[in-house]
């Protein structure tokens, strides 16, 4: 009898081509996703005169620099998009370019197109590749040197990470989402707490999440330091995948279901670290500082650095200075200049539905941008009447891309402006130089838009179904 195994161990074993004496493993990569930022890696390949080893399982998409608003695109941005197109054509890689109906943010379209499947190893030169772990895939971001290596060999050298199981018991409260859960645990444990671990999310609250919720949670694993997050696939997963364009069909589908049924941690499997969280402890959560670990329930107040010591105190002082906040100020009431809904974290249909539920029949007091995570999400949101709710509330309905989460395409928050944002990073200058970002769920962003300040979304959803 073989020893009990974790889901992670099963996935690792299924992809390990060999292990070196020093313990490093060579892993097979089932899917490699590239975007405009992969230009450094293609240049490395060209320098060596190499070709892409497996173009049939390499896919490209325009997202980081995709323009989302009408008007001229700067020559720099146009060149980035054209370079990806040139590289994809030269190497025979399927490309979702700006004219393709499948275009969108790489971590939104992977699942949407059926490219992301349980049991695969998925790599992309983007840290939020952890998103795809929501399907029970080993998915992690890599740098340009590693992208070049995968392009050239379809493999990657990895040290085996330790395993952590994060069990979330109980039920999330009304209007408390996967985003709140992620910010909650990162604040509780720290932005580097899961460094060196592969996290498996488990427990009743996780099983109850939709695919969209699981994607949000796994997406944010990297913000807690983990390279990857996992959720064991179940019927929710299979129902999501069935019928997607690149998903298996016919006999291959039947075989897949048999294989995927094995993708769970065995009952007695041992993890290197166990963390338990009670879903009932989680309120709608917002960040106040410049790291995702600087998060608190909306019912709380900006922390007081005077209550802290040493490096922690210096860090809090610097964060409050950058964010222009006063110690002890209630979070509910902090005025915002604008809002943003979108990104690989929270740009999916369910996110837009929840935000629209808050905004329906209401007006935003501040300007804002809504960028759906993909063209397919955009089309669905328009068909469901959500786009109209956003525009009638006074928000701008834009095209799909990474947009104002990272500002590469020119959608930026101006210096000194405060933005309530459904994105993943509140780093200094992330949304634009001097921009002040507060991370929260799309529902909470919608609430901030309606109130003109950070506020608890729960009263705004009372009586709305």
């Amino acid at each position: 009898m073989t020893a009990s195994q974790t889901l992670f161990a099963k996935l690792w074993a299924a992809h390990e081509i060999m292990q070196r004496d020093d313990g490093t493993s060579l892993l097979w990569v089932d899917r490699h996703l590239v975007h405009e930022g992969s230009h450094h890696a293609f240049a490395k390949l060209a320098e060596r005169g190499l070709r892409v080893a497996c173009p049939d399982i390499t896919f490209g998409v325009v997202d980081h620099y995709a323009p989302t608003r009408a008007g001229d695109v700067s020559p720099d941005i146009r060149r980035m998009i054209e370079t990806l197109g040139d590289n994809a054509r030269a190497q025979g890689i399927h490309l979702f370019d700006l004219t393709d109906p499948g275009q969108g943010i790489v971590h939104v379209i992977g699942p949407e197109q059926g490219l992301t499947l349980p049991g695969l190893v998925i790599n992309c030169g983007d840290s939020h590749t952890s998103t795809h772990g929501a399907f029970g895939a080993l998915a992690f971001g890599v740098g340009a040197t590693e992208v070049a290596h995968i392009l050239a060999t379809q493999t990657i050298w990895q040290r085996r990470p330790k395993t952590m199981r994060m069990t979330v018991d109980g039920v999330l409260g009304p209007a408390v989402t996967a985003k709140d859960l992620a910010l909650h645990w990162i604040a509780l444990l720290g932005a580097d707490s899961a460094r060196g671990y592969a996290i498996e999310y488990a427990g009743r609250a996780i099983k109850a999440l939709s695919m969209e919720g699981r994607l949000t949670l796994c997406n944010l694993s990297i913000e807690g330091g983990a390279r990857l997050g996992l959720v064991a696939p179940d019927q929710v997963t299979f129902d999501y995948i069935a019928g997607r364009p690149f998903a298996p069909k016919g006999a291959a589908w039947d075989a897949a279901l048999v294989d995927w049924a094995q993708l769970k941690s065995d009952k007695d499997a041992a993890f290197d670290r166990e963390v338990r969280i009670d879903a009932a402890d989680i309120a709608p959560t917002v960040t106040w500082g410049t790291s995702p670990e600087d998060a608190l329930p909306i019912t709380g107040c900006v922390p007081n650095p005077a209550d802290m010591t040493g490096a922690k105190r210096e860090q809090a002082l610097a964060a409050l200075d950058y964010m222009a906040l006063d110690a002890g100020e209630p979070l509910d009431g902090i005025a915002v200049d604008q809002v943003f809904i979108g990104s690989c974290t929270n740009g999916r249909i369910e996110d837009l539905r929840l935000a629209a539920k808050v905004l329906k029949g209401r007006k935003a007091r501040v300007p804002g941008l809504v960028s759906p995570g993909s063209k397919a999400v955009k089309q669905q949101a328009e068909a469901e009447g959500l786009a109209r709710i956003f525009t009638e509330a006074g928000l701008e309905w834009a095209a799909s891309g990474c947009s104002m989460c990272v500002g590469m395409n020119g959608d930026r928050v101006e210096a000194g402006k405060r933005c309530a944002s459904s994105t993943n990073r509140n780093f200094r200058g992330r949304q634009g130089r001097g921009a002040r970002t507060h991370l929260m769920s799309p529902a909470m962003v919608a609430a901030a838009a309606v109130a003109g300040h950070l506020t608890d979304v729960r009263p705004l959803l009372e009586g709305r179904t």
């Binding site: 081509i17 060999m18 020093d22 313990g23 060579l26 097979w28 089932d30 450094h40 240049a43 190499l50 896919f59 620099y65 720099d76 941005i77 059926g114 490219l115 499947l117 049991g119 695969l120 030169g125 983007d126 840290s127 971001g141 890599v142 740098g143 340009a144 040197t145 070049a148 290596h149 050239a152 060999t153 379809q154 493999t155 050298w157 040290r159 932005a191 580097d192 460094r195 990297i222 330091g225 983990a226 390279r227 364009p245 690149f246 298996p248 075989a255 897949a256 294989d259 790291s291 490096a311 210096e314 860090q315 500002g407 590469m408 990073r425 780093f427 200094r428 200058g429 992330r430 001097g434």
Partner: protein
């Protein structure tokens, strides 16, 4: 990439936690080709906002001492290019961004872990000045501002830094094994190939 075993240079302290990749290189600079040099982009906004920023005062620094979670965030290797092109060859911190530290080693930059107490001691010793620093990969030790410390580094990374190994060349030796693995995997699990 050429390997190295020792550094003899100057160290400075950047006493901040969570110096993330968006700070190390703001996204707006990332469309530049590497050949243009990324050194000027390093901590661009902080250095422009603060004329007396430590890296403006000591632009010949080789070694950086900083607080926890350095290089957290994005997978952008450009953050490492900015450090390397500026002239930084080793960073000492209690913890590093996971993808960042791999990127660092792939570009000959040492991400060396020390305890929080060791880092605070070095920060206190350096203050707002630079000081002599030597780093030895063979012994895993460094002397910075007169203080000698042993640092924590994955032995695989140590070898890689010393030898300047290039993974693509190493992996090429396993070409046949990889080819066989692919064939066996997709034969046993045909669903793993994208449907066409």
């Amino acid at each position: 990439m050429s390997g190295w075993t020792t550094i003899a240079g100057r160290a400075v302290a950047l006493p901040q936690a969570n110096v993330d990749t968006d700070q190390l290189i703001p996204a707006r600079f990332m469309s530049a080709p590497r050949s243009a040099g990324y050194g000027a982009f390093l901590l661009h906004d902080a250095r422009q906002d603060q004329a007396d920023h430590i890296l403006n005062r000591f632009d010949g620094a080789d070694v950086l001492i900083t607080r926890r979670n350095f290089g957290s965030g994005s997978s952008r290797e450009a953050a490492v290019y900015a450090l390397v092109d500026f002239g930084i060859r080793a960073v000492f911190a209690p913890s590093f961004g996971d993808i960042f530290q791999g990127n660092a080693v792939n570009n000959g930059l040492l991400p060396a872990r020390l305890t929080g107490d060791q880092i605070e001691m070095l920060i206190a010793s350096l203050g707002a000045n630079d000081a002599e620093a030597t780093v030895d990969l063979a012994t895993g030790s460094a002397t910075i501002a007169g203080q000698t410390v042993s640092f924590d580094l994955d032995p695989v990374w140590q070898q890689k830094l010393v030898n300047g190994w290039d993974d693509i060349d190493l992996t090429a030796q396993h070409r046949d094994q990889i080819k066989a693995f692919r064939a066996a995997r997709f034969a046993a699990h045909p669903w793993a190939l994208p449907a066409s």
